[in-house]
Structure formats: C-alpha cells, structure tokens
C-alpha cells in the first residue's frame, strides 16, 4: 500500500462527513457525476497511472460542490466484461476506506465528500487514485494493470457521463436476461417470519421476493453487508426440475427454515408445491378452474376478482406461510420474469388482472396475448370472463376444447384437460384429496369412518 496523507482501512467504512466539517462535495444532488469500470486491452492501460481532468482537491473552493467522474480501466488475461459491474461496485467500498472521504451509492447517482481534516492533511485526487490502484490489485489477482481518471471539469465530464450511461444500459439489458440457470447461488429471506413463522422466501434471478423488495442482486448486496442477517445465501444444489423450478438446495433449505413444515417447493408453478406466501406479497397469482387460466391481483386493487372476492379476502386465505395450491403471493416484478409461472404456461395461460396492473406491466406482457387478457373493465365475474376469453380466442380456449373432447370420449364432465388427483397418505391414516377443476355430480354421497 502506497503512503497516503490519510489512513486507509475498513474501519472508515460508514464514515459520514457532516456539512459543518465538509471541505468539498463531489457529485451528489448539487452537481453531477458517475463511476465506471471498464475492462480494456492491456495496450491501453498505463499501469498505476492517475489522471485528473479538472481542478484537484486543493484547487477547489471550500464548501462547494464539484462534478466528479471516476473512470477506472483494468486489463488482465483472465478478465471478462461480465466482471465490470462486480468490480465497479467495489469503488464504493474502497473510497469509503479512505479516512476523510465519504462515498454513497453507485453508477451516475454517486455522492462523495472530502472532510476539512483530509484536505488539511494534503489529500489529493492522485492519492485517491493511488488507493484505488492498490486496493483493486490487492483484492483481485486477475487485475494485471489498472489506471484511474478523475473528471472534475464541469464541461469535460459530460462525454464521460454519456459513455458511462451507455455502458450501464448495455449492462442492465444483460442483467435483465439473467435466469436461474445462470447462477449457482440463490438467496433466502426470513424477514417475514415474525408474521409468518413457517415462511421462507426464495430469491433467484427469475424470482424476486414476494414483497417485491429483494431482487437477486439486492440479496447478493444484503449478504455482503450482513452475512448472518435475515437474508442469506443458498446453494441451489441439484436441478430436480428446471421448468417447475425445483432445486435440491432450495428444498433442503425450506425444510430447515420452515421447521419441517414445507418439504418441496416449485418456484415457478401454482400447482402441487407452490412457493409459500408471507403476508405482505405485492400481488397474488391465482388459478381460475372455470376457465383453466391464471389471474393476478395486486394489493392496491380495491375491486373484486372474477371469483367475487377482493384482494384482501384472498390474501387472508393465502398468507401465513402455507402452501395453498392454486394460489401464490408474489412480486409484481415476477410478471417481468421469463419464468413467470412458466411451468403452468405463464402468459399464455394468464387471463385476468386489474387494469392498473396491466398498465403498469404494459409492454412486458407478450404482444400476442396482451389484448386477450381481461381486466375488471371487461370481466367482473366468471361468466363475463369466459365470454371475453372466447371472443378474443385466448390461448386457454384451446384447452377447453381438449377438455370437451375428453368428455365426449366418455370421460366425466370436466373442463380441464389434466386433472391430477393428489393423494398424500399422512400419519394416522388420513389422506388429502385435491380435485382440480372437477365437476362431480352425485345423487348422494356417503362418507363413512373406516373402523378397520
């Protein structure tokens, strides 16, 4: 580590510099700025060099705000573009290690501050750059060469900002496409166990936490901040069923964290072993047997679903950490996932949602079904929903025909093509029978106790 006029170390993380003790504001709400780390060719990097374009700290006017651009370029044989984001997030940590320097957030919404003491000690941006060079090299062996450029000039920073934003966009597009199969680690969250003691939330690239707050990236960030906290890492283990989203690691974790109450979880299905629901999910996905389709209702919707019940009533039945087949508390963001109830047909089987929700998801709904999904404006009950779907020739209508066909072939009258009957023998000789969308007509039903 090079010699700096101030200390550098992890103990300075979390240091806030008060305005009363501030020498200069860099970027932040009163100015502009960004940080960008790029992997470039070795020939383009002058290892260890630090360049300042614009005034250095000592030339700044005390108490003022200046633009602040941080450009870090690295090279190395084993480096890939995918690592840029991971490395870039460390700028936040490393700058905070510097005594008398504060760094908040990331990308183009950063805010740095230099303390009066640091300025008095003679801290310059060349030192900050040197600290970046040393810390990045110490932390990542794969970085062979690194150079740092700071922009503090009000005009010259603009091109850098533009380039940085273009780079973020490219990166975001890639991240949006990240799927469960692209990573080995998922995250679990127990924040809701005070309300739903058996509930554990599984967070994957394709499944945001049910409350909508914790994405896979957020989970990763949380674990880094507090590895022993309510959000924890889970190795996904063996893939049991990719489509349904069943993983050995998730099953094991769920058994453990739900105190043995829940043994299997399908991350991307409403049936058999759906994900449990806390109490604070943003929306509920629900199966509508009468039309063999899926509806989604969100918390803000005050009207009634085609079932004739509002969100609140449904939420009361679904929540509390139990698996309720055909129902699932979920994040609105989950509707943007490529695995949105994928095992059940996803969007091709989605038939109803409130208009406000449909507007919110907008273009993320596949175009071919967008207009075929009813809202409360077209369907307020099952009959009007059925009529609407038929009129629009929603993909589920084809399933009805298959069912009718099956019935015509001499089967019982059901409107669903598949009708699995799950019988789970339980201790004490009991059993659970689940009929999915079954219509059973009988003159008389006698249920007798079996006395052996």
């Amino acid at each position: 580590m090079s010699k700096l006029p101030v200390d550098v170390g992890i103990i300075y993380e979390g240091e806030r510099i008060r305005k009363a003790n501030m020498y200069a504001d860099l970027a932040g709400p009163k100015s502009k700025g960004a940080e960008l780390l790029k992997v470039v060719a070795a020939s383009k990097v002058k290892d260890g060099s630090v360049t300042v374009i614009g005034p250095d700290l000592k030339d700044m006017k005390e108490g003022s705000a200046y633009p602040f651009g941080v450009s870090i370029e690295v090279s190395g044989k084993k480096l890939e573009e995918d690592l840029e984001g991971v490395f870039e997030r460390r700028i936040h940590d490393f700058m905070n290690y510097i005594q008398g320097m504060m760094h908040l957030n990331s990308r183009d919404i950063i805010w740095c501050r230099i303390s009066k003491e640091a300025n008095k000690a003679g801290l310059g941006l060349n030192h900050v750059g040197q600290a970046m060079v040393d810390l990045f090299k110490a932390e990542f062996d794969v970085i062979e060469k690194i150079q740092v450029t700071f922009y503090t000039d009000d005009k010259k920073i603009d091109k850098f900002l533009k380039d940085a934003r273009a780079a973020y966009e490219k990166r975001d597009a890639k991240v949006r496409g990240l799927k469960d199969e692209d990573v080995d680690t998922f995250y679990g969250c127990l924040l809701c166990q005070s309300f739903a003691p058996k509930h554990v939330c599984t967070i994957t690239p394709s499944r945001t936490s049910s409350c909508g707050s914790i994405t896979w990236f957020e989970g990763r960030a949380a674990v880094k901040v507090d590895p022993k906290g309510p959000i924890f890492a889970v190795e996904k283990g063996e893939v049991i069923d990719l489509e349904k989203g069943e993983y050995s690691g998730i099953n094991e974790m769920t058994v453990e964290r739900s105190n043995g109450e829940v043994e299997r979880v399908y991350l991307h299905s409403l049936f058999d072993y759906p994900h449990t629901s806390c109490g604070c999910f943003e929306a509920i996905g629900f199966y509508i047997p009468e039309v063999d389709g899926i509806g989604v209702v969100h918390r803000d919707f005050r009207g009634v679903t085609p079932f004739g019940i509002p969100f609140s009533t449904m939420a009361g039945q679904v929540g509390g950490g139990v698996q309720s087949e055909g129902f699932q508390g979920m994040a609105i963001e989950y509707m943007r996932s490529s695995k949105f109830f994928a095992a059940d047909g996803g969007w091709q089987r989605t038939v109803w949602m409130p208009k406000a929700l449909k507007d919110r998801i907008g273009n993320d709904i596949p175009e071919d079904v967008r207009d075929k999904i009813a809202t409360e404006e077209e369907a307020t009950d099952l009959d009007s929903l059925k009529a609407f779907l038929k009129e629009k020739n929603h993909p589920v209508v084809a399933r009805w025909k298959e069912a009718v066909q099956a019935s015509a072939d001499g089967g019982i009258a059901v409107s669903q093509f598949e009708m699995p009957v799950a019988g789970v023998p339980m201790a004490g000789g009991g059993m659970t029978i689940i009929f999915k969308n079954a219509k059973i007509y009988a003159e008389k039903v006698i249920i007798k106790r079996n006395d052996k």
Binding site: G14, E15, N105, I109, I110, C189, E218, F281
Partner: protein, 247 residues
C-alpha cells in the same frame, strides 16, 4: 450517546428534546431525529422541513421496480437518507415523517434502521424525539438507545404512563442502559410528590422542570424554542444534561 426523549403529547417532551439539542450541540457533533409524526421538533429547532424519511421511503416503494437492475435500492436509500438530512452549522436533523401506507415495508424498514444505525455512529450525540408508542424506535430508527428519558406532567397518572413506556420498550426489545423520568411544569410541592410516586414503581426522577413563562411565550408566538437563552426550563435541562453526561 443516544438519548431518546419520550412521553405523551402535551407533556413538554419536544421542549426537552429541543433544549437537549441546544445544549449538547455545543459539546460535540449532534444528530437530532424527529421520530414523532405528531410532534414538531423541526419547528421548535427553527428548521423548515424539506423531505422526510417517510417521503423517501414512499418514493422508493413506488419506484423501486423502475430502478435499473444493477442499482441496489439499499445504496440508493443510503444516498436519499443523506439527501434528506438537514444540515445546519451546529447540528444535523432527520425528520422521520408519517408511518408507511399499504404494502410490505419490512425489508425497507430493516435496511432503513441499518442505515440510521450507521449514520448515528458518526455523531457524539443523537437526540431522538420519540412518540410514546415507540413505533419508530423499534421499527425504523434504532433499537439501541443509551438513555431513555420519559417526560411527564406532574401527576400520578404521568408516572403510570412512564411505567408503561418502560414496559413497552422492554417488550419491543429496545436496548437502553438507563430510563429516567423528567417531571415537567412542577411546583415546589409536586416535585417531592413526583419523586415519591416514581420510587413506588422503581423509577428515578432525574430532574424536574419548572413552569416557564418564556417557553410558554415562545410556544404561543410560534417562535423556535432553540432561540431561548437563559430561562428556568433551559437551566433545569442543563442540570439534567450534567447528570446524564457524568454517568
């Protein structure tokens, strides 16, 4: 040192908190937290509120799915909390604002508390104007309090309230090293009585504040209490501070 000032509305809790800010901001870096949506600490400190933490949280709740996927809302919240901090030459102020609306705020509140805990470590003194229900303290602000001061009017009922606040704090797992009673608007005879009442239930009166004409005048005219120089009430709070800091 984190000092939470609690008590029912109308007991003079915010007067005590304002004077604590006035006195202790001369002794070191100080953060004041207005955690009682029904009180007006910002107002008595002579500060115009811009953004509350509540607003920041609502905006995040509303817009979080519009954030780019590589932007962590945790870090954004940290940035926004800093942005909502009102910075004066002598102290900083965070206004917590209204409790949340619909939806699940557990993760947001959890992170918010982590952030405020981190921020609080940067100050020599943190003064929290807490509501009697202690909701903000337990869920959104901090659970670690060094001293809990319960302000009460001179009445036996006031002591009972203090006792309830103590129980509530224990129930909410708010960790405090000491909990003391401050009897406000006392007269000579009620002073002695209050101390006896408190003793009966195992509470200690750390100080009493006499009825103060100046405070009443400032309150009536809507002037910031922090501008009061040399008054009976201010002197009384100074005495309390001496006792607290000595411990």
């Amino acid at each position: 040192m984190i000092i939470a000032v609690s008590g029912k509305g109308g007991t003079g809790k915010t007067v005590v908190a304002s004077f604590l800010v006035k006195i202790l901001s001369k002794e070191g870096d100080l953060l004041a937290i207005d955690a009682d949506p029904d009180a007006n600490l910002a107002d008595t400190l002579g500060i115009e509120t811009k953004k509350t933490i509540g607003t920041v949280r609502e905006e995040l709740m509303r817009d979080r799915d519009k954030l780019p996927p590589t932007q962590s809302w945790r870090q954004k919240l940290e940035y926004d909390v800093m942005g909502a901090t009102i910075e004066t030459d002598t102290f900083d102020l965070l206004v917590m604002g209204r409790p949340e609306g619909q939806g699940c705020y557990c993760p947001l509140n959890h992170v918010l508390r982590e952030i405020i805990d981190t921020v609080a470590k940067n100050y020599d003194f943190v003064i929290i104007d807490a509501e009697a229900g202690l909701e903000h303290l337990s869920r959104r602000t901090t659970q670690d309090v060094d001293v809990m001061l319960v302000v009460t009017d001179p009445s036996k009922r006031g002591v009972t309230t203090a006792q309830r606040i103590k129980e509530l704090a224990e129930h909410l797992e708010i960790n405090f090293k000491g909990l003391y009673l401050i009897a406000n608007r006392t007269t000579k005879e009620s002073e002695k009585k209050m101390s006896d009442y408190a003793k009966e239930v195992g509470l200690e009166v750390i100080g009493t504040i006499p009825e103060d004409e100046k405070v009443r005048k400032f309150d009536f005219e809507g002037r910031p209490l922090i501008e009061i120089e040399d008054s009976k009430a201010l002197n009384a709070v100074e005495k309390i501070v001496k006792k607290l800091v000595k411990q």
